[in-house]
Symmetry: C3
Subunit: 472 residues, 3 copies
Amino acid sequence: MSTGVKPESVSLCPLNMAAAPEQPVLCIFGTGDFGRSLGQRLLQSGYRVVYGSRRPHSCGPLPPGTQATSHEAAAQFAKLVFLCIHRENYDFLETLAPQLKGKVLVDVSNNLKKNLYPEANAEYLQRLIPGAHVVKAFNTLSAWALQNGPSDANRQVYLCGNSAEAKQSVAEIAAKLGFTVLDRGSLSAARELEDFPLQLFPEWRLPLRLAVGLTAFFFFYEVIRGIVYTYVDQKKDNSFRIMVSIANKVFPIVSLIMLALCYLPGIIAAFLQLYRGTKYKRFPDWLDQWMLCRKQLGLLALAFASLHVLYTLIIPIRYYVRYRISASTISKITENKTSVFDTTSAWRGDSYYSMGILGFGFYILLGISSLPSVSNALSWREFSFIQSKLGYLTLLFCTLHTYLYGWDRFLYPSTYKWYTPTGYMLSLIVPTVVLVLKLLLMLPCLDRTLTRIRRGWEKSSSENAIEKALLT
Amino acid sequence: MSTGVKPESVSLCPLNMAAAPEQPVLCIFGTGDFGRSLGQRLLQSGYRVVYGSRRPHSCGPLPPGTQATSHEAAAQFAKLVFLCIHRENYDFLETLAPQLKGKVLVDVSNNLKKNLYPEANAEYLQRLIPGAHVVKAFNTLSAWALQNGPSDANRQVYLCGNSAEAKQSVAEIAAKLGFTVLDRGSLSAARELEDFPLQLFPEWRLPLRLAVGLTAFFFFYEVIRGIVYTYVDQKKDNSFRIMVSIANKVFPIVSLIMLALCYLPGIIAAFLQLYRGTKYKRFPDWLDQWMLCRKQLGLLALAFASLHVLYTLIIPIRYYVRYRISASTISKITENKTSVFDTTSAWRGDSYYSMGILGFGFYILLGISSLPSVSNALSWREFSFIQSKLGYLTLLFCTLHTYLYGWDRFLYPSTYKWYTPTGYMLSLIVPTVVLVLKLLLMLPCLDRTLTRIRRGWEKSSSENAIEKALLT
Amino acid sequence: MSTGVKPESVSLCPLNMAAAPEQPVLCIFGTGDFGRSLGQRLLQSGYRVVYGSRRPHSCGPLPPGTQATSHEAAAQFAKLVFLCIHRENYDFLETLAPQLKGKVLVDVSNNLKKNLYPEANAEYLQRLIPGAHVVKAFNTLSAWALQNGPSDANRQVYLCGNSAEAKQSVAEIAAKLGFTVLDRGSLSAARELEDFPLQLFPEWRLPLRLAVGLTAFFFFYEVIRGIVYTYVDQKKDNSFRIMVSIANKVFPIVSLIMLALCYLPGIIAAFLQLYRGTKYKRFPDWLDQWMLCRKQLGLLALAFASLHVLYTLIIPIRYYVRYRISASTISKITENKTSVFDTTSAWRGDSYYSMGILGFGFYILLGISSLPSVSNALSWREFSFIQSKLGYLTLLFCTLHTYLYGWDRFLYPSTYKWYTPTGYMLSLIVPTVVLVLKLLLMLPCLDRTLTRIRRGWEKSSSENAIEKALLT
């Protein structure tokens, strides 16, 4: 049978075809797209494949080298059956229970939505055919990956199931197909695996919405202050400033606020724990949710900071800036003014840039340590050192950068166009609050109490605490 | 015996030496470099090691604490034998078949070239000694890594074999030596493992050649238009422009073309599928190969784009640019010209920069999501969202960036030196074609048909299709 | 019992609660922070939990749904016992040996310092209760991760133990709690696991100290030459140069020296091997240590290079620079000087920038290939190609960049303020030495001998060598 194997699709890894004759027969129920792709790939890897179908003679084109028979016959052929059919059609399997007894059933199904059914597809299948060993696997792969081999997001096969041997045999097949296997435990993990392919950045939604909201607000705020005001006040159209000048005001503002919002929930939690005197009381829901998206908040803030850096660095090649500099030089000459070099301005400007660069440098470091492979290689002592110590240092540098940008501008009434503060002033509120509260928490009296609480000490059970303190 | 263990090389991870006495004896056939390095490392990890050699008394310096005997004696000592000899010398093992029966044989061999032999070394070994349990392992490590412990590209031990227990015992040893074990399935994966250490960026060759070819072509093109032409026309030597100005024209051109070439094969494939009415027909070979190197094309394009960004950002600190700006200011004053601020130029320039920055920002995002650890953490829905949606957005931004750069320059005859179009015009051809075709594919009628085809529907078997549509 | 389960903490992954009734009972000894966090998480994952305590009736608040009994009773309940107590209190377990016989004991303990005890906690435990199956696990996780589920540095559970079945049962629980399991072999790996949470960048200390030392030295050196000298000589205060100008001299100097120091030990080792005629003699300790921190040296040098790039790119927007350019233009006009465009300056300046950009580009590539997930995906032939070939190319570009920066400045006596050479001259010493020695090593006669030595050949045993050469 295997002599007819003609790989119809490209093979990514050079697999050995010579070993085919001794390979066991695998059965696939369902001749849809996924079933055909899977069959093709199995054939290429040297397996023999037989399809089970309701209408074996009219089930469309199958990979050459395979054949289709009835479900009953196919089930008897193989010790391992891939179920490439929709959950809606599982019920007919009940009649096959005797043939499927003791066999390994691989459930590759996914649903169209989360929580469509009360139990996971694989658990439902196990309940239908209690005699079989159900393994959930391959469902996180695309049909494309099954045809063409592992690549990028399709490198790993997650599997779970109650029988260790059944899992082992499926793992062997996955490894042979070139995938890396990750065992997720017993069949109760099936729902998690079935939800995985449906997710589209769930943990990024809140931070993204926040970023979009803040960007929109500050964009309009700056447009009103920078363009509408100028137009009303001086009848001058400088709307071209939207593309770079305004953008380069909005991005750093949003970035700084979001960076500070990364550290605010931790501080709120600390004060809550101090107030309650225990860490064993649950935080309010909003705080929990906030804390869980800190990483995403921080990475978005880093993206905005990077845009700010790029927008700042192109300043000197802008037409507008070159024109202004040239015009200012010309006016100095024609009006015969001499400008004196102001050391304070030089100090201030250079410090401003230096703080910004160092802040951005540390920020990039935080970003790199968030990469999965880097954070996996760190112990959590190292990880929390980077994210907490270096994180607050980053926030400090960026806040100082913004204060140096403002300098004494807040003293001049002309800054408050239409009685509104500038955007950078608004952006300083949250970071300043965070840094001041953090400083408070670093006071020895608060720090000591908090450390004790975090080690499990509780205000009420002070007796216990003393005993534990002695043990530690 | 283990009292004589003196680690001669540095030990990376603090391994426990105290447990040595109860450790089993491991046998190593072959006293070459790899055998000695392996023995040293095994000793450091607390194992007892005995060497098997043809000339046990004249086999050169062995790690202190080990001893060498004949192959027969050594084989009887241990339950596990590492074969650190060349495949060419395997034949003598046949005579040892009785002693090796039931033992675990670890094949660590590599070949000097791919496809030197019809079957993998490990499979040949298994055929020679059918009674032994052959495990292919450790061959992807360097002798350096075996002496010094895991680091960087030498962190993982791939293994394969037909006996689960044999693999387990080898995996235990590898874990104890500090390596991470990756099981690649049965012995038929041995060839893949043996080819791995020989590969040198196979999938990067085509994209690299393309990049070098494009760079060379556009470099000469721009040298001729920018330097030779000026020299012939105005007798002015501006050859210094090669280092930055010309480079900064070539890099973005090559980057844009290569980015577009990432997306072109997908579009060709889509039209091919639409025309054929099925996805089950194989693509032509060139298209398959092209599709498989899209990632590499994209990453090279990103590298060129990054160089373009750096070359652009140093523009204002160049001597030439400073000279020209100063000269233009001086000439304005001496000739008493007044230049009027041109709002259109400001809009155009700022939009041009803004598009470029946003395009580059999204591009970096695409690059980050290609990192193995990041793409592994994504579901393929997420991955394809980034690579497809954000990818086309990146292409769109970068193409707009180039159009804004050109602006109305194509209207002026002076642009067409020696009747040739500028480089940027040539670079716009492919991206424009890709974007227009993509727009066509997004038309509801085409999009719907394509989606059905990609779900397995076929033009010919329309009966089936209706049935499937009902099921889905 | 499981009906009372009320998750008190947020659940990161949607775990199935319905399967609880059939779940086995797990026992936790110790009601401290870790024990409570672990119990909570186990409950959320559907397990039933019973605590063992010395004072079951006064052991503080436990997760609702659990109960506390005496150690004896709890031990009899469950087949698996988590030991969440300090090693100091292990001795009482000896009296429970009969009840714990045949049970799986999970040792989650950590010590406060490294090498506090002669043997690992888990090995001590195994010696106390030889009848139990001790598994070391979960100790690398924070209590926070146990309460809230896997994230970042808390994604992996390392485990080791002598019984494969015991390890399997612990691995099942860890997988169900959402963690990825990494088997580290037998119980002798316990010390390594216990040391892991204590480490704080051990391999970064030496390079960091070196970086701080070099930075401090060159900072003071440049302050003295650039600010103190000017003040003494011309009574001019240009202390504002500290923030950017001096910083941007120190960073590239330190970066170049550290990059060269990455490659120096390899060259010393090569000459040592050539001199000794063998690779089987141990290197001196300082050389070993140096070679082991090359990666960290290189990454720190990359960080300094990145700061140099950012500091360079903001040059044109500095107040000082804008002032100086404007002043120079004005003075040219008022003094009616005409400056002639100098092609050599243009060539030199542009080459200088181009070398710097290309060097930095290759440097970034080296950095990316050091990311764990990227280097894991490379074969070591690929990895050493990048790190060695591209590494020397990077060093070459960066050294040329610095030579072009200096140009003919070394000819002018005014460069040698107070008879000291400039910083950039000092920074060129090590890289020049490294490049010259590398060139020497590339001479065919040396290269051939070195290659033979690295393949295991030895000067003394020339007989063997000939034989091996024939075999290879």
